[in-house]
């Protein structure tokens, strides 16, 4: 069973991140094309956002990474996703 425990974000923060990730996915120029290859598993932007929303093992692991990067760089978690949304518009 995937480990769905996650303690880095409270529920409100999780909802904000989820909303931002869906915005990133929906504005992605290749939203249904694979962007990540795990040598067998392929993730489109939509699937990526869905994994986070479902709190799958992959999604929870991403959130943990996001929170750690936020802590290290002193930036809010939303800032990382905002940059990705802006990058969508620049392609």
């Amino acid at each position: 069973m995937p480990d769905r425990r996650f303690s880095g974000l409270d529920e409100d923060e999780f909802e904000q991140v989820k909303k931002a990730l869906f915005e990133w996915a929906e504005t992605h120029p290749d939203k249904d094309q694979p962007i990540i290859f795990m040598m067998g598993e392929r993730y489109s932007a939509r699937r990526f956002a869905g994994e986070v929303a479902d709190r799958s093992e992959f999604g929870v692991s991403f959130l943990t990474f996001l929170v750690e990067q936020s802590r290290q760089s002193q930036e809010p978690v939303r800032a990382f996703i905002n940059r990705a949304i802006i990058a969508n518009g620049e392609r």
Binding site: I35, I36, M39, Q69
Partner: protein, 202 residues
């Protein structure tokens, strides 16, 4: 000490088509550091004949690019997959230094290598990944590490350096010089997974 490298690579889907190109590029670089460096397309090749033995027999280093599972390197996909090499055939790698650019083979296959072979096995304990639009940085990180492995040969040093490079790349995508790239945070996440999963066995 002579260095005779054989690079085994498959190509039968998008991912392996890309990593096959990585393997070709690595071969070009390794000509600078080796006595011989042979690249073989081993798609579909299994242990029915002696071709694979012939390829590996005279090598000092074996590098694999393709799909893997915990118990094997994959020659062809399927359920079950066609094994290129697996736990029951790991003996062919005795006295070789092995570098696997594929998913999961450090687990069972690497463990079998450790218990029955002399040499070093570097690989990933779970999925290995890369980001499509930022493929260059992923390829270059693997490429530099594989060269380091052949040149320096110390598994611990190679893995520590590679783990550090994957972590650095993760941070560059998240908040460093690559932070404005397409899907940078997702690319950084994949690099961080690679950092957590790389390891070696002797």
């Amino acid at each position: 000490m002579s260095k005779n490298v054989v690079i085994l690579a498959t190509r039968y889907d998008w991912e392996t088509a890309r990593t096959f190109e990585w393997a070709k590029e690595l071969q070009g670089e390794l000509f600078n550091y080796t006595d011989n460096c042979f690249l073989a397309d081993v798609t579909g090749l299994c242990r029915g004949g002696t071709s694979l033995d012939d390829l590996i027999n005279n090598s000092t280093h074996v590098i694999f690019y393709g799909h893997g599972e915990a118990h094997c390197w994959t020659a062809l996909p399927g359920s079950p997959c066609t094994e290129l090499l697996g736990i029951s055939t790991v003996g062919i790698l005795d006295y070789k230094d092995v570098y696997a650019v594929c998913c999961s083979s450090l687990a069972g296959f690497g463990a079998a290598f450790s218990s029955s072979c002399h040499g070093t096995f570097v690989g990933y304990s779970d999925s290995f990944g890369f980001h499509r639009k930022n493929e260059f940085e992923f390829k270059q990180t693997v490429h530099n590490s594989a060269v380091n492995f052949v040149v320096n040969g110390n598994g611990s040093q190679v893995v520590n350096k590679l783990r550090s490079e994957w972590s650095r790349l993760a941070q560059e995508f998240a908040s460093g010089t690559l932070k404005n790239r397409s899907d940078a945070i997702a690319a950084g996440y994949v690099a961080s997974l690679n950092a957590a999963r790389i390891g070696f066995r002797t």
